[in-house]
């Protein structure tokens, strides 16, 4: 680690937030397209319909933003550290799906989410030690 730890973690949180916006946006697009994908041909048509929605492009924009913020974080942080901390997007996606998409998150998912958070804390502590 060559950069200040707090700043690097802030950048990785930012990439995770961008990833979450991207995933929730694409999920909202996929839900808006009432379409059953049954084979390769319908998959292409499904993708084309999604790409016609402005929200899909906003989502794709966020995934590129996420990539470049991560690249900036990687100029200061070890890959093994940054990639592990980035797993917090799983936590954000669970929260976002619950809050914005009103999805039902079972106890098992919450338990897994807590295990991920403990893992992230350990990785964070290992870098500050």
């Amino acid at each position: 680690m060559t950069g200040p730890l707090a700043f690097v973690i802030f950048l990785i949180v930012l990439t995770s937030v961008c990833d979450t916006v991207n995933h929730l946006g694409l999920k909202a697009c996929a839900d808006a397209v009432e379409f059953k994908v049954v084979g390769g041909g319908t998959l292409v048509r499904f993708a084309l319909r999604i790409l016609r929605m402005p929200l899909a492009w906003v989502s794709i924009g966020f995934s590129f933003l996420s990539l470049f913020i991560m690249l900036y974080a990687l100029t200061m942080a070890n890959l093994s550290f940054a990639f592990s901390i980035d797993s917090m997007h799983h936590v954000f996606i669970a929260l976002g799906a619950r809050i914005f998409l009103k999805e039902n998150i079972g106890w098992q998912r919450w338990m897994g989410t807590i295990v991920i958070v403990i893992g992230i804390v350990l990785v964070g502590l290992s870098a500050s030690a």
């Binding site: 690249l71 890959l79 039902n104 098992q108 807590i114 991920i116 403990i118 992230i120 350990l122 030690a129």
Partner: protein, 138 residues
């Protein structure tokens, strides 16, 4: 539901996906290393960082690897259930750690390995869905 069982060939493809994804992360780290130690304080500096990164062959190799994984992943999902395939993606955490250790010579303390294993377990728990309960995603 037969799509819950993952045949060995598909399992191999899933693990190969994680290996290719780790390669993509390695490429992104190499892209970052090639940028030196930039400090971004203005939009112009952010712009020149992005242009610098876009000029790196490693970035495009990484993006190509991500695209390859995406295509392979969607193909796999037409053969098996998402909740059966998804737990395998948790292996990306130890895989990236191994790539960092071997190819980037990063030092990974024992506590970090413990954290990585917990993250892996957590991701597997989050994505694993017992057969009887089919809530959530439509």
């Amino acid at each position: 539901m037969s799509k819950r069982s993952v045949p060995p060939i598909i399992l191999s493809v899933l693990f190969l996906n994680e290996a290719v994804d780790s390669l993509a992360q390695y490429c992104f780290k190499r892209t970052a290393l090639a940028q030196g130690a930039p400090s971004i304080r203005s939009l112009a500096e952010a712009g020149s960082f992005v242009t610098g990164a876009l000029a790196s062959g490693y970035l495009w190799l990484g993006i190509a690897a991500v695209a390859l994984v995406f295509v392979s992943w969607t193909t796999v999902l037409s053969k098996v259930d998402l909740s059966a395939a998804m737990p395998v993606t948790s292996f990306s955490y130890p895989f990236v750690a191994l790539v960092s250790l071997v190819f980037l010579h990063e030092r990974i303390p024992a506590m970090q390995w413990c954290g990585i294993l917990l993250i892996m377990a957590g991701v597997a728990i989050v994505s694993w869905e017992p057969e009887q309960e089919k809530g959530g995603a439509p």
